[in-house]
């Protein structure tokens, strides 16, 4: 290798690069477009299914009529329109919001810890947020109206994320074992807190806390969407803005600083965004674990680790996953609403096992 003539360099690559680039762009657009389409289909399907079935065409028709387009059929069942707009749509929208928020929070945490095992549920951030929310419910505080619970969940999530960050991180690195053990310790502490609240609270508070720990979208209302929606959208927008710099964090703290990243500031911002997103998901639906682990991992397998595609694809993928999981939760057993958190853990747990095994067999595992 000698100093090459720039002309030959340019000449040699001008032929191959454009096709490679356009190929990559096409793949990105294809993935995001495909996921967007899947989300639309999942929403229509999920909104139509339940104790009262509304055919997909009527769901689309009802939607179009609401936005002022006289297209498609309206629900033929007399209760159809009411069911769709008062029960199904708020629930499906909440599922999509929670899924997008959790998957994005997972992708962000993994980026900031440089570790694919970091996830709000695994490291205890979700349960920290739930504990704070449960405290507010039991004590009956309503200092911020409908926002009280979300605000408490945000503070709880923020405190636990900071705690994980300061305890699991040493010398600019986060060891897998330390991270997972920190999660074990945090989950133990939050479980104890929840147990105490159950012991101290009355019958109604106990039921609500059980609801938190199981995770469910049952009883979602537009009021909840009005709180979670802005939080999730703001968190997603912030995540997209940080995506490019998150790539650089993969180089390690020092090397990231050498290419111009203010590492500490970026990390603090990411932690706040993770807390916002976790709060948006947890505030009204309780702990839904493993979404943030499974979705970003699958996206990395498909599209590589670049955060500019990982973040939006995880958001869409998380939304699709939770909309479908929630559809399954409420239709698998007739007249029963299975806890959503139980279902995601049922699928996510084995996936976690597989991840750990894969990490052990690959050379060196994760640093």
């Amino acid at each position: 290798m000698t100093l090459a003539d720039p002309l030959t360099v340019a000449g040699r690559d001008s032929a191959s690069r454009p096709t490679l680039r356009t190929g990559r762009v096409a793949a990105r657009v294809g993935l995001l477009g495909g996921l967007g389409l899947a989300l639309a289909v999942a929403v229509v399907l999920a909104a139509g299914h339940g104790q009262l079935d509304v055919p997909p065409a009527e769901v689309v028709g009802s939607l179009l009529h609401r936005v002022g387009l006289d297209l498609g059929p309206l629900p033929s069942h007399p209760q159809g329109e009411t069911t769709l707009w008062q029960v199904r749509f708020p629930r499906v929208v909440m599922a999509a919001l929670a899924g997008a928020a959790l998957a994005t929070a997972g992708a962000l945490m993994q980026g900031v810890f440089g570790n694919p095992l970091a996830e709000p549920g695994v490291v205890g951030v979700s349960s920290g947020a739930a504990l704070a929310a449960a405290t507010v419910i039991v004590t009956g505080w309503t200092f911020a109206g409908t926002w009280t619970v979300a605000l408490a969940a945000f503070v709880g999530g923020l405190v636990t994320t900071l705690l994980v960050y300061t305890t699991a991180r040493d010398g600019g690195r986060t060891e897998v074992v330390t991270l997972v053990l920190t999660g074990v310790a945090l989950n133990a502490m939050t479980s104890a807190g929840l147990a105490f609240l159950m012991f101290a609270g009355d019958q109604q508070a106990r039921e609500e806390i059980v609801f938190w720990t199981l995770g469910s979208l049952n009883g979602s209302r537009w009021e909840y969407v009005a709180v979670s929606g802005p939080l999730a959208v703001a968190g997603l927008a912030a995540a997209l803005l940080m995506a490019r710099r998150l790539d650089l964090l993969a180089l390690g703290d020092r090397a990231a600083r050498h290419v111009g990243v203010d590492v500490e500031r970026l990390r603090l911002r990411v932690i706040v965004v993770v807390a916002v997103l976790t709060a948006a998901a947890v505030a009204f639906s309780g702990i839904i674990a493993f979404v943030g682990l499974v979705v970003p991992h699958l996206v990395r397998l498909l599209a590589g680790p670049g955060h500019r595609i990982l973040v939006p694809a995880s958001a869409l993928g998380g939304a699709v996953l939770l909309v479908l999981a929630d559809l399954w939760a409420r239709t698998a057993v007739a007249y029963a609403d299975l806890p959503l958190g139980m279902l995601t853990a049922l699928v996510g747990g084995p996936f976690f096992f597989w991840l750990i095994r894969r990490a052990r067999s690959s050379a060196g595992g994760w640093a």
Binding site: L3, D13, G114, L248, A250, G252, A255, W366, A367
Partner: protein, 269 residues
């Protein structure tokens, strides 16, 4: 590239309470390739970290064109100096080309960003990594990772380059090639600092060698002046001989015949 003068004045650094550098003075000028050499624990990497602005200084200051590196914003600093660390880690499976492109990030949203593709292509060609541009970085061998990381550092196009043992994992061909590129970059006007263990390699490529010993500068000057048998034997606590082979300085440890340890041999002589 504009001129960059990197200057350390009276730099003292303590790591975990242990003093590692004592009042080190060093100036690196545009067009120069300066090698930091010395035994293990002499403070080479710490001095490089101090020059990069990574470690807090107990005393003294490090300035780049007169501005202290410790208080310069990360992005502004990244446009002035690039650093190649001894160990390259990567948390996720990015492709080599993407890793090299990361070197362009300080120039994001500047007019220089228009040249990103051209600069990245050229850096990869110079480091002989263009052949595995689409491979996943963590699957490369240590030497290939080091070359890809050097390509990232070159792509940053800074007037100051700091390289910590860039040749440690490389074969002879790529050692020579990498230092050749580093020297060409210096000839083109950059100030280059390289930590090297191989003194013969340092003698061949360095304009100046800064020999460190116990956290202090033992000698600083052209290779012929710094690499004397007496000085090296004292600094490395091992007898060292310096010869000339085909016009270049070669530094070799004096090796005792089999069965006699070097220390005993040193005592005898």
């Amino acid at each position: 590239m504009t001129a960059g003068v990197l200057r350390a004045a009276g730099v003292t650094v303590s790591l975990g309470g242990t003093p590692v550098l004592h009042e080190v003075d060093l100036a690196v000028h545009p067009g120069e390739l300066v090698t930091l050499a010395g035994p293990n624990g002499a403070g080479k990497s710490t001095l490089l970290s101090a020059l990069a602005g990574d470690v807090p200084l107990t005393a003294g200051d490090v300035t780049l064109d007169g501005a202290p590196v410790g208080s310069t914003h990360a992005t502004a600093l990244a446009r002035r100096r690039a650093v190649l660390l001894q160990h390259q880690g990567l948390a996720f499976g990015f492709r080599v080309r993407h890793v090299v492109e990361m070197g362009r990030s300080p120039w994001h949203r500047t007019p220089q960003a228009d040249r990103d593709d051209e600069v990245v292509d050229r850096a990869m060609l110079l480091c002989d990594v263009d052949a595995f541009a689409e491979r996943v970085f963590p699957t490369l061998s240590g030497g290939e990772q080091a070359r890809a990381s050097f390509a990232r550092v070159l792509a940053q196009e800074t007037p100051v380059l700091l390289l910590d043992e860039p040749t440690a994992a490389l074969d002879i061909r790529h050692q020579e090639a990498l230092l050749g590129v580093a020297r060409d970059v210096a000839r083109a006007g950059a100030a280059v600092v390289v930590v090297l263990h191989d003194l013969s390699l340092a003698a061949a490529y360095a304009d100046r060698i800064c020999l460190l010993s116990g956290g202090r500068v033992a000698a600083d000057g052209p290779p012929e002046q710094v690499l004397t048998p007496a000085r090296l034997s004292a600094v490395y606590e091992h007898p060292v001989s310096v010869t000339r082979v085909e016009g270049s300085l070669v530094v070799v440890p004096v090796r005792a015949p089999a069965g006699v340890s070097a220390e005993e041999d040193a005592c005898v002589s």
